[in-house]
Amino acid sequence: MEKFTVLRGKAVPMMRANINTDDIIAAQAMMGKVERIGDRLFTGARYDSDGNERPEFILNQDRYRGSRILVAGANFGCGSSREAAVWALTGYGIRCVIAPSYGEIFHDNSYQNGLLPIILDEATVARIAAAIEGADEPVVTVDLERGEIRLPENGLVRFSIPEERRAALLAGMDELDILLTRGEALNSFQIRDRSERPWIWGA
């Protein structure tokens, strides 16, 4: 997994609540092995039925095109378990989402892919969005080492995430590596379990 330390880039405000995983990438757009999955991010809103960009969609506007940070309404990423929703975001180049809350599976999937899902209260998220909209350049810095979001015109917002998540992101560490070191504990659990719950094991 790619490390996450300090991210500086354009930030795009999409303040609608309940932006779901079907919005982020439609099921029809994620079937099979997809090259350049970032091109399919927000497929329905971003392109018309002929595949041309819709000029009114915010990421199609020069000011926000190529954003690295997304500021969103509550319950972002609710809906399906598709990790392709995270891959579409990271494929596009977005590595941080700031929202009041998330769909749970999306929230987990984000961490597994080095996408930082920051949680802040509604008022603070609204303030960040307003700062971005009002700035000459919508550029924000997200500093995971210091737990700081630096807004375009000198504003500063603090955030925190669970320490174990922070450590993993800073080191670019995969969870699988942790799991694989616990083979012995697993062996003894399974040996005991086979005798205690034989029905689980098809006996």
């Binding site: 609540a17 099979g32 669970p162 969870e175």
Partner: protein
């Protein structure tokens, strides 16, 4: 200390604990579907790892396969590669696969209970958000992402932080025309799509106890639309009767060993939950959704709400957008809205009892002119059983299409789609923009309500047809 059902299951599955409060949890059952596993197998191969416990793993093809009779992997070219890859991966790693032509094939959350893969007190995961369906048997079942599929394939464990617990008690007796689907839609309508977030939800109370297992599966299915990854119902004699004799359910001595443990699972008296909600079922009428979020629920005799009836600016904006997308006018009754499609299918409502309820409305009636109505059984077993009792004939005579089992129009990833601008009433779980196809408009309802709309051509209070009896 008195424990909840969930805490007992959690404790039973802790392999080891970390000082930061996380734990490694053993996974008893891993179920795979073809659209979310491909990359996990690639990663497994890259790292040179075997599947840790193939005997605890089941795979099925359901999301992307066509539904017309005689279908093959080639029937819908955009997903052909994915189906072939699933076959390759299962063979390479020695996993059971319920392929397109298997008797065991069906929607992953329909076959998990049906084959007895899911059992009370077990942990069950699948890279699919409706995995909680199996909670209807008292399993802790939840949806995971593809990276976690890799974790389970490689280690049969997941690294988790303990979720909080919530109990929702359903009191009272649902009236006529009110089904399990209405109970869960009502909860989501009252409390919204995010209330369950961070919780494992236990559904309890007399109205839940009175439900047959298939209805319990429907309730647990939509836990994710309530925000919760897992929802479950304590197992009881109804559960045990349902499970006995199923293919992967314990038999003989194993059954005798399991039963006392299963009976110890229900929450102890006085166990504490982080949150409690109560639902009064007497007040629930048949329901239908009007917007693009499962919380946009109204009674069938209700009127389409005006955006400014919502206090929060957020909800108001969502309602405005939804009314435009759905092409509905505030203040008009929802009943009478003309429909183009009626879809009975999905892991929410395509089990045998769902088809029976729909058939009792369709019997002796005809699908209204201009309406396309589809029945897509939840599994191949459901299809066979329905055919054995003549339900297919009732539906065919009424003008419904009778299809092979798959996810179909629930997610529109197999070629079955509602065309842009067309209005569908559906037994599925999500009414998101574009869910049933780009530009499609979806109303969620129970199977009986969908059948009633199919035969009248418009959204209809199913109680009117119950009153009318057979046509």
């Amino acid at each position: 200390m008195p424990l909840t059902l969930f805490e007992k299951i959690w404790n039973r599955h802790v392999v080891s604990e970390f000082s930061d409060g996380r734990a490694l949890i053993h996974i008893d059952r891993h179920v795979l579907q073809e659209t979310t596993s491909w990359q996990a197998f690639d990663a497994l191969r890259e790292r040179g790892l075997p599947v840790r416990n193939p005997e605890l793993t089941h795979s099925v093809i359901d999301h992307s396969v066509a539904t017309h009779p005689g279908r093959t992997a080639d029937s819908f070219p955009p997903t052909r590669d994915m189906i072939l890859a699933m076959r390759r991966h299962c063979q390479e790693f020695g996993l059971r696969l319920y392929d397109i032509d298997s008797d065991r094939q069906g929607i992953v959350h329909v076959i998990s209970p049906e084959l007895g893969i899911a059992q009370p007190g077990c942990t069950l995961v699948c890279a699919d958000s409706h995995t909680a369906t199996s909670g209807g048997l008292g399993a802790w079942a939840w949806g995971i992402g593809t990276t976690q599929v890799l974790h389970v394939l490689a280690t049969q464990m997941l690294l988790l932080r303990k979720p909080e617990t919530m109990r929702v008690t359903f009191n009272g007796t649902p009236g006529r025309g009110v089904f399990a689907k209405d109970l869960i839609l009502h909860l989501i309508g009252q409390h919204g799509v995010a209330t369950g977030t961070g919780h494992v939800v236990e559904y309890a109370g007399p109205a839940i106890r009175a439900l047959p297992v298939e209805g319990r599966l429907t309730v647990c299915n939509m836990s994710i639309e309530f925000g919760a990854r897992a929802g479950l119902i304590a197992a009881d004699d109804t559960t045990f009767q349902y499970l006995a004799g199923r293919e992967f359910a314990p038999k003989g001595a194993a059954w005798d060993a399991a039963l006392p443990e299963w009976r110890r699972l229900p929450s102890d008296d006085g166990a504490l939950y982080h949150r409690e909600l109560v639902v009064d079922c007497d007040a629930i009428t048949p329901l239908v959704t009007w917007g693009n979020s499962p919380q946009d629920v109204i009674a069938i005799d209700g009127r389409i709400p005006a955006p400014d009836s919502f206090a929060e600016p957020d909800r108001r904006a969502m309602a405005e957008r939804a009314l435009r997308y759905m092409d509905l006018t505030p203040g008009t009754p929802i009943e009478g809205t003309p429909i183009d499609y009626a879809f009975i299918g999905s892991c929410t409502n395509a089990r045998l009892s769902d088809l029976q309820e729909a058939a009792s409305i369709a019997r002796g009636r005809k699908v209204a002119p201009g309406v396309r109505a589809l029945i897509v059984p939840g599994s191949t077993t459901v299809k066979r059983e329905a055919e054995a009792s003549g339900l297919d004939t009732i539906f065919r005579d009424a003008g419904f299409e009778w299809r092979e089992s798959a996810c179909s129009m629930c997610v529109a990833a197999n070629g079955d789609m509602v065309p842009p601008g067309k209005r569908s009433i559906s037994t599925t779980n999500r009414n998101f923009e574009g869910r049933q196809g780009p530009g499609s408009r979806t109303h969620l309802a129970s199977p009986a309500m969908v059948a009633a709309a199919a035969v009248t051509g418009k959204i209809t209070d199913v109680r009117r047809l119950l009153d009318a009896g057979e046509a």
